[in-house]
């Protein structure tokens, strides 16, 4: 189990350009492949990872690791996630200080940025499905859509803090769904 976690998150760490929501589908694909947890439970974990300080992808990895193999699993996942970055940063610092001015590197990022955006859009669709946001028309679906719309509005127009949005949505959920 520990080796499997290490392998999974090492590869994830290696491809995690941006390190944020774009990497969530990468982790989700692995988690579902091994049958570690359902997409819905994974969404809960992302919510908690998003509320915690620190990068969301690393937090998610620590969380999955803990759920699968306790403290040791969490430690191995964190290590596996950071190790590729650490090695690459050292490599770049030592040899390729002008990396960002290399035309090949710039071209790669020209394609990468659009794909990363595509991944984030994909993540949004993927998580909207099991949430029930796209279910048949009912009062319940409507209330979920209202939470979604109001959260998005607060983030874009009111500059609300992500952790604040999650906490508020949780309180609304507690009030209406129990």
């Amino acid at each position: 189990m520990l080796w499997l976690l290490f392998k999974t998150f090492f590869i994830t760490g290696l491809v995690s350009f941006g390190g944020g929501y774009a990497i969530i589908p990468v982790i989700e694909a692995e988690v579902v492949k091994y049958g570690w947890m359902s997409t819905q439970k994974f969404t809960d974990i992302i919510a908690i990872a998003g509320m915690s300080p620190g990068p969301i992808a690393t937090n998610t990895a620590i969380f999955v690791g803990y759920q699968m193999a306790g403290i040791a699993g969490a430690a191995v996942s964190a290590l596996a996630m950071v190790m590729p970055s650490l090695l690459l940063v050292l490599l770049v610092a030592l040899f390729f200080y002008k990396l960002n001015h290399n035309r090949i590197v710039q071209s790669a990022f020209y394609g990468l940025r659009s794909v990363v955006l595509g991944l984030i859009v994909f993540a949004a669709i993927k998580f909207a499905l099991p949430t029930g946001l796209m279910n048949t028309i009912s009062l319940h679906t409507f209330s979920l859509l209202a939470i979604f719309a109001f959260s998005l509005f607060s983030l874009i127009k009111r500059n609300a803090h992500p952790a604040y949005v999650i906490v508020m949505a949780g309180l609304v959920g507690m009030a209406f769904y129990s």
């Binding site: 995690s16 350009f17 941006g18 390190g19 944020g20 969530i24 589908p25 990468v26 809960d44 919510a47 908690i48 509320m51 915690s52 300080p53 620190g54 969301i56 937090n59 620590i62 803990y66 970055s85 650490l86 690459l88 940063v89 050292l90 610092a93 960002n100 710039q106 071209s107 790669a108 990022f109 020209y110 394609g111 990468l112 940025r113 659009s114 794909v115 990363v116 955006l117 991944l119 984030i120 859009v121 994909f122 669709i125 909207a128 949430t131 859509l145 939470i147 719309a149 983030l155 803090h161 992500p162 952790a163 999650i166 508020m168 949505a169 949780g170 959920g173 507690m174 769904y177 129990s178």
Partner: protein
């Protein structure tokens, strides 16, 4: 303790202190790191730090952790890089583990279940917001729009593995710019410095 160990400990402590206050990860941390490393400790110059952030964003992994590693390296070599990385990781790690224990313990409680019912659509909103913030940096012309749209379709309908999609993205970029150069089409790709905010603005 030698002077070197004091310096390493100081690097460790600086990043250890920064980590817990950076809710939301990535970009929240940049101004805090700047203030600590440039103004308070005077380890680096402002221009150096700006370059480092741009570079840290180009390397896989969270920009906050990568920046810490970079700055640690600039101050005290490989040992400094390790001190900074460990320092920035420990508080996050402890907090996330505590929350995991809490979640495992309370996940089946009806009130907690109800809370998560409300939180899930908010998470979708957070992800949409991440895409919204990133759109200017990513979609710079028609080509990038097509690449972004086709990647969504490939992921949704052909179930291409996301990790493979990322590799394909880099290859596509190199190929497209190569072709455009060959046919003499000018493409603005050197826009990294201006939009550090949007650059790979995935983690908010």
């Amino acid at each position: 303790m030698t002077k070197r160990w004091v310096l390493l400990f100081e690097i460790f402590l600086t990043f250890f202190k920064i980590a817990p206050i950076t809710f939301g990860g990535g970009y929240a941390m940049i101004p805090v790191i700047e203030r600590e490393a440039v103004e308070k400790k005077e380890w680096l110059k402002q221009e150096e730090v700006t370059d480092l952030f741009a570079l840290a964003g180009s390397i896989p992994g969270a920009i906050a952790i990568n920046s810490a590693t970079f700055i640690g390296y600039r101050i005290a070599g490989v040992a400094g890089a390790l001190a900074a990385t460990i320092g920035v990781m420990i508080p996050t790690f402890v907090i996330v583990v505590c929350l995991s224990i809490f979640y495992l313990y309370f996940q089946d409680h009806p009130k907690v279940e109800a809370a998560f019912e409300g939180i899930r659509p908010a998470v979708v909103a957070l992800i949409v917001f991440a895409a919204y913030k990133m759109r200017k940096g990513a979609v710079v012309d028609k080509t990038t729009f097509v690449v972004a749209a086709s990647s969504v379709l490939l992921l949704l309908f052909l179930h291409v593995h996301p990790a493979i999609m990322i590799a394909l993205g880099a290859a596509t970029g190199i190929l497209l710019i190569g072709l455009k150069d060959k046919f003499g089409v000018e493409t603005k790709i050197d826009d990294q410095e201006q939009n550090v905010d949007y650059f790979m603005g995935a983690d908010i």
